[in-house]
Symmetry: C2
Subunit: 295 residues, 2 copies
Amino acid sequence: MGAGTRIEEALSAAIDAADGPSCPPGLAAAMRYTVFPGGARVRPKLCLAVALACGDDRPELSNAAAAAIELLHCASLVHDDLPCFDNAALRRGKPSVHCTFGEPLAVLTGDALIVMAFETLARAAGAAPERLGPLVSIVGRGVGAPFGLCAGQAWESEPAAPLREYQRAKTGALFIAATAAGAAAAGADPAPWRALGDRLGEAYQVADDLKDALEDAATIGKPVGVDAALARPNAVCELGVEGAVGRLKQLIGGALAAIPDCPGADMLEAIVKGEAERLAPAKALPEKRRVRVAA
Amino acid sequence: MGAGTRIEEALSAAIDAADGPSCPPGLAAAMRYTVFPGGARVRPKLCLAVALACGDDRPELSNAAAAAIELLHCASLVHDDLPCFDNAALRRGKPSVHCTFGEPLAVLTGDALIVMAFETLARAAGAAPERLGPLVSIVGRGVGAPFGLCAGQAWESEPAAPLREYQRAKTGALFIAATAAGAAAAGADPAPWRALGDRLGEAYQVADDLKDALEDAATIGKPVGVDAALARPNAVCELGVEGAVGRLKQLIGGALAAIPDCPGADMLEAIVKGEAERLAPAKALPEKRRVRVAA
């Protein structure tokens, strides 16, 4: 079974477990709407790729780790879109959750998806209970305080935020959790896998900053120019477009160099190169080929 | 060390772990403000009391379970108070989190406290890893969908909500999680402990409905009359004041009867009776003694 299918099936199983006559229908619908159809599923794919590179001896647990990472990512998007943050009407090319289901259900959907992520890990860890603690800690560190998504988002409420800490917490932390959780789900030491997630996460954030500055809303399926409007730290504001493109290239090179020596190294290298192609902004410079990341 | 001290120390350790130079100062302050000073700490006390009744052979894990339950309760209060829900200016006698720190940090504080609850369990489970899975599942069921706090709150977004399901999810589920987690933390079977949590949770909700209908804001430290204003299901609206008082009495009797036969049964009975005294509404009927729950 391919990685994409494994991820979609694990996410479906998680959402199905919350649905049914006992669940308020609006909440069940909003949770499903948030998770399906997905975006690129980059983080869970990365998680599964690392699990495979580490032997994937507990596929159920690898699937659960990938699903947990994606559920937390989806939760963060729902809350990020709320009126008190980005006030975004559009997400993944369709109306955002609070626009469709109202603000109360959007808050609760995010909350319930966070809880679901940890329940999903616990449900799958029966056969390897000693792996659950490290997995919960890895995933928690990626989304909570002081290092995770919540902290990253909270830097936006500070009068000044350090760019690297902000980006590492807001984007990098969940990528680090994805690679580390992939290793931990397969019973491997997660430590050597953190650097790969760190570099890819920063590359993602720089690419996102470039998109926010350069692309139009129809192309990327969400509002643009938000960072500048909200005066947020942004790699393009700090480095300029060409500087940010150079940084992106450097980070992808760093990600490739950070892949630990393992049987699945070639597969991971191909995945990172594919992502590099996908991340390169189409409109950064007149000739698209020039901004493709060569690494 | 008394139960109260154990709970406060476990909560302090959890909050301290999120604080520090890496955490945005506003988020760290808002999380601490949310958790300290606490309310009656009823749920974690109940959790610890059950753990003690079951032998409390892993005190660190019992403390973590109690802290996790309270962190989730605090998270739910912060989100409940948001403008899109109760829009409450006051909580535990002081300005609510969103009034003090702004709405973005209130949303993130709730999110980060949910994550922290699971991290707290994982951190303490090192010596008994086989207990972590059941604990995460028990706690997750108490707060997520379809049976937990989030589902309970989401019933308020439905055109009609069944009173029992609504109250069981919104209040009962976390009480059930408290008793079941106390047992699981001590390595005991949680199943026989669920009924005690269920009865006490419903008693709590009925008492809260009575307070909302009868007391003044200064006495209970939060706004009153909210349920009626928002047309929410409420035991007083459904049963009348005397009917609700009768139901409360019946539920406390049920809670006492649900205490499993165990060495700590007497202690638990004393705790439930103490809570019954505390829950009885001061203003329900002219003679306070008449509404005290006799059980």
